[in-house]
Amino acid sequence: MTRILADRAARLLDFLWSGWAGLAALALLFACWQAGHETWGDFILPDPLATLGATWSLAISSESRGLLLLTAQRALAGFTLAAFSGAVIGIIAGYAPAVMRLARPLLTVVLGVPPIAWIVLTMMWFGTSGATVAATILISATPVVFVAAAEGIASRDRGLGTMAEVFRYGALGRFWFIDLRQAAAPLFPALALALGTSFKVAVMAEMLANAGGVGGALARARAMLDVPQALAWVVLAVIALVVVEYGLIRPMQAEIEGWRRAAQPWGVKK
C-alpha cells in the first residue's frame, strides 16, 4: 500500500518535473518565435507578447470561448470516433492476418488521398456541419491508431495469453487483461498523436468547409490579414489541445507505464 502511494507520489513528482521540462521547451519555442518576429516583422510573425495579449482577450470573451468549445467538441468527437474505430479495426487486424492483408491497401489509399479530394464527398454526406469535420478527422487520425493497435497486438507475447488460459481466462479475459494491456504501450503515444491531429484537422476542416468554430474565426482573421488575431486563435486551439492531452491521455499513459519506472527509475540509465 505504502509502496503504491510512494509509486504514485513518484509519478506525480515526475509529472511536475516534466512540467518544468515542458516549460523549458516552450521557452525555447518562444525564443525562436521572437527571433522570427525580429527577422521578418509583424506581418509574418507578430510579436509573441502581442499575440499572447490577443489570445488573452479572446480567452476572456465568452463568444470566443464558445467557438473554442465548439471546435474542441468537434475535435474530441472526431478523435473518439477515430480512436475507437482505429483501435477496433487495428486489434482485429492484429489478430487476423487476413484482415490485415485486406486493410493495408485500403489504408494506403486512405492515407495517400489528399483531404481536398474527400471534402466534397463528406459535404455530400453530412452537409457543412460538424459531421463533416468529424469525418475528416476520422480519415486523418484513424490510420495512426490502427497501425499502433495492429502492431501492438501482432507483437504481443503469446506465452502470457497461454498462461492466462491455464488460469481460466476466456478469450475475452485474455484480450482484456493480457493482449490489450500489451497493445496499450504503443497505443497511447499513437492516441496522443491522433488527438493532436484531431485538433489540427478540426481547424483545417472548419476552414475548408466553412463550418464555423475556431477554423471559421481563423479564416476571418486571415481574410482581415489580422495576423496576431489569427495566431491567437492557433495558440488558443493548441492550449485546448494541451489541456485535453495532459488532462486525459498522459495520466492514463503514466498509469500504464508505471512498471517501466521500476526498471529505470527517474530515467537514470543503467
Partner: protein, 250 residues
C-alpha cells in the same frame, strides 16, 4: 474412480515435423507422475497438450479434474504487475470473493517462501529464483486438484527445492492434487513421484513406466540415491537419459 487425466494416442507435429507420437498415459487422482526425457523430446509440448493449451494433431485428452494449474518452464509473469498482483492474477477467475484474495495471495506466497517485501516488486526487480517462486505461488493460489509442473524448481537453491518438493509430497499424501511433473532431476522425480514415465528420445510414445516403491513421503535419502544409481546404471530405459552418445544410435 476415473482417472484425473487420461491421454489417448496423442500425436503432434510442428510444420509437418512429427514431435509426439501415440502417447498413452493415465494419471489417477492424487497421483504424481514424473515425466522425464531428453531435452527436446517433447515433454513441454505434451504438457501443453494435456492442459488443453495446444490442440493435438491426433488423439484425445480426457481431463477428470475440476481445476488445474500449470507452472511453465519459463515464469511467464506479467511484467507490468507486481509479484503480489501476478499471484492475484490467477485468482480473478477462481470464484473467490474479492476480499478473500489478499489472504490467499499471502498464503501462496508463504508456501513459495516469498518474503513480504518482495511481493511489491515488479518482475524486472526479482531474481531468477524469485520469479520462479512467484510462478509457483500463482499456481498454488488457485488450490488446483491437478498441477502441470514443467521443470518448476530449476532456479531454486537446494533448500528451497527441497522445501517445494516436500510441499508436493505432502499434497500428494493428502491427495490434494494429482500432478504431471516434468523434471530432469532424477533424484527429484524419485523423491516426489508415484510413477516415472520416460518419454522416448524422439517423442515416439512413452518409452516405459516405472512404478516407485512405497509412498513418496516414505522414501528416505538413501533409498532415492540407491534407486537413482540402479536406474542410471542398470535400467536400459534410462540409458539415453544417462548418456548422450546413446542418442546418436540409429
Amino acid at each position: 474412480m476415473s482417472a484425473a487425466l487420461e491421454l489417448h494416442r496423442i500425436g503432434h507435429a510442428y510444420f509437418g515435423q512429427s514431435v509426439l507420437n501415440s502417447i498413452d498415459l493415465q494419471i489417477a487422482p492424487g497421483e504424481v507422475v514424473a515425466l522425464v526425457g531428453p531435452s527436446g523430446s517433447g515433454k513441454s509440448t505434451l504438457a501443453h497438450i494435456a492442459a488443453g493449451l495446444v490442440e493435438p494433431r491426433e488423439g484425445r485428452v480426457t481431463p477428470g479434474y475440476a481445476r488445474h494449474a500449470m507452472i511453465f518452464q519459463e515464469p511467464r509473469l506479467l511484467p507490468w504487475a507486481t509479484a503480489a498482483q501476478n499471484i492475484g492474477f490467477a485468482l480473478r477467475r477462481a470464484k473467490l470473493p474479492r476480499r478473500l484474495r489478499p489472504a490467499r495471495v499471502a498464503e501462496a506466497a508463504r508456501l513459495a517462501e516469498l518474503e513480504p517485501q518482495d511481493l511489491a516488486k515488479y518482475p524486472v526487480e526479482l531474481s531468477g529464483g524469485m520469479r520462479q517462486r512467484v510462478a509457483i505461488a500463482r499456481a498454488l493460489a488457485v488450490r488446483p486438484d491437478f498441477i502441470f509442473f514443467d521443470e518448476p524448481f530449476t532456479a531454486l537453491d537446494v533448500a528451497l527445492k527441497r522445501r517445494m518438493q516436500d510441499l508436493v509430497i505432502a499434497a500428494a499424501e493428502e491427495a490434494q492434487f494429482a500432478a504431471l511433473f516434468i523434471t530432469h532431476d532424477l533424484v527429484e522425480a524419485l523423491r516426489i513421484a508415484h510413477r516415472i514415465a520416460v518419454l522416448d528420445l524422439r517423442g515416439r510414445g512413452i518409452a516405459g513406466l516405472r512404478i516407485l516403491p512405497g509412498d513418496p513421503g516414505a522414501r528416505d535419502e538413501a533409498t532415492t540415491f540407491a534407486l537413482r544409481q540402479r536406474f542410471l546404471t542398470e535400467d536400459p530405459l534410462f540409458r539415453h537419459i544417462h548418456d548422450v552418445d546413446e542418442r546418436r544410435r540409429p
